[in-house]
């Protein structure tokens, strides 16, 4: 999966702090995400993974610290600047956030209708292409409530990708799906990323499955990100919190597995 990718930093969090009332959720979070890579943020529920994502999307402002996207500080970008940055984003929300009063076709067509001057014929061509990519060609005229959770996720992914974004955010993309449907979402993610070369930021606790797709993994715990490393290094990390997380989610790593993991490490 890991290749010689562009090393440009697309998103950078610099010592970000955030609290809600008395609760400190982010306590000096720093992270750099490089173009074309897949970075996975893992961690237990309620640790602030989605809060990090919302900061990257500009939906939340940090109490202190900076969030820079494409080199621009989001806090200083202004409404217009923020819209320009977001025009390069695609987002798959945890609960999909499809517009339930619109058909799946109209949901996918919405960004094209609102953000481009494309003709209806052109929009139809692009939407049908994305729906076909997601295996939803026969379901475009249905409303989100009329299709399964897996189909809703695929429709959400089609909407996120319809403008060929540079960065795609996935907030718990497989929550509520069974194993088969989860695998389907991961397969679609892999295929579309190979095809469209976008940078991916995934918030997930689907361990260890998500490690197969990741270039970098980081753990959110105690208000901070615990390193950012390859999945193999993550599983062998000496960091106490990471070791504990790996043990809780994957069980103990035995010596034979350690050797296998070490063989993946690049020299």
């Amino acid at each position: 999966m890991r290749t010689d990718k562009d090393n440009d930093i697309v998103i950078e969090l610099d010592n970000v702090h955030k609290h809600f009332g008395d609760q400190k959720v982010l306590n000096g979070v720093s992270l750099s995400i490089r173009a074309g890579t897949t970075t996975v943020i893992v961690g237990a529920s309620g640790q602030g993974k989605s809060v990090i994502l919302k900061h990257m999307l500009g939906l939340m402002q940090p109490d202190s610290g900076q969030v820079r996207v494409f080199g621009q500080n989001l806090a200083m970008a202004g409404k217009k600047g923020l819209r320009q940055i977001r025009s390069k984003f695609g987002v798959l929300f945890q609960n999909v956030a499809l517009f339930d009063s619109m058909t799946i076709y109209d949901n996918v067509a919405l960004p094209l209708r609102e953000r481009t001057a494309a003709s209806e014929d052109d929009i139809r061509r692009q939407v049908e292409e994305k729906l076909a990519m997601m295996g939803l060609s026969d379901h475009g005229d249905k409303f989100p409530a009329q299709v399964s959770g897996g189909m809703q996720k695929r429709a959400g992914l089609a909407r996120a990708l319809v403008l060929n974004p540079e960065v795609v955010f996935f907030d718990e993309p497989t929550t509520g799906l069974d194993v088969r449907k989860s695998n389907e979402i991961y397969r679609l993610f892999f295929e579309t990323q190979t095809q469209l070369h976008y940078t991916a930021v995934i918030v997930s606790h689907d361990v260890p499955k998500i490690f197969k797709l990741a270039d970098y993994v980081t753990l959110m715990a105690n208000g901070q990100l615990q390193g950012c490393m390859s999945p193999e290094a993550f599983q062998l990390s000496g960091n106490e919190l990471i070791r504990e997380f790996v043990l809780e989610t994957m069980g103990p790593i035995y010596s034979s597995e350690t050797e296998e993991l070490q063989s993946y490490e690049t020299p």
Binding site: F89, D100, L110, P111, R115, R159
Partner: protein, 261 residues
Amino acid sequence: MKIIALLGRETLRTLETLGRFGMFLALSLYCAVTPPYKVMPIVRQIRFIGANSLFVIMFTGLFTGMVLSLQGYYTLTKFDSVGFLGAAVSLSLIRELGPVLGALMVIGRAGSAICAEIGIMRNSEQIDALECMAIDPYRFLVVPKMVAGIIAMPLLTFIFDVIGILGGFLIGVELFGVSAGSYFHGMYSAVVWHDIEMGLVKSLVFGLLMVWICSAKGFYLHKERDGGFGAEGVSRTTTSAVVIASVAVLVWDYLISAILL
């Protein structure tokens, strides 16, 4: 000491809410007057707020006119002035009852739906999704409703007035035997352009108030849940939006009357 702290907290909270609502109105109006302009979403909202409210407006207007005529006839006979029945009914409807009752009916029917719709969109991250897609939620969600409210409310008020006057005619002329000529002549001689202007100004303001308050309450559901989360939060916020919008209509009714009289 606790009372002072509570008072301070509540004052700050109220100021914050007023500021938020003020910004919401300013941003919505700015988006409404700047391009790109999209007609179809406005037409769809005029259908929802206006056309779909027709039945309730006609029904309410008819019975309001009928009861005005009934009470008016009873009062005017005491002063031997039944000839003023048409004037009393029409002036009451055009200046006060048409705009106010029409607005209250539309708030109950469409305002509550607007608040619930936007509130559910906030709860299910659909508004966040719009922002992440670089689509302005004010322009996409609020402006069509606001423009439609401003267009639809005067039209609904006009229909309310006409049906109310006919309701008054039914009771006064058909039931109590007041002469039709006297009913309409009284109306014709009493109603002047200033009365119609007052009704028009009120209905325009009420249309804006309804959409503003109901949309903003739904839009900021996450910031002022009125004591509830999820479905309960939507339900409480909707109730609160309807109450605040209705009270605002009555307060502004007095203010506009006081200014324009």
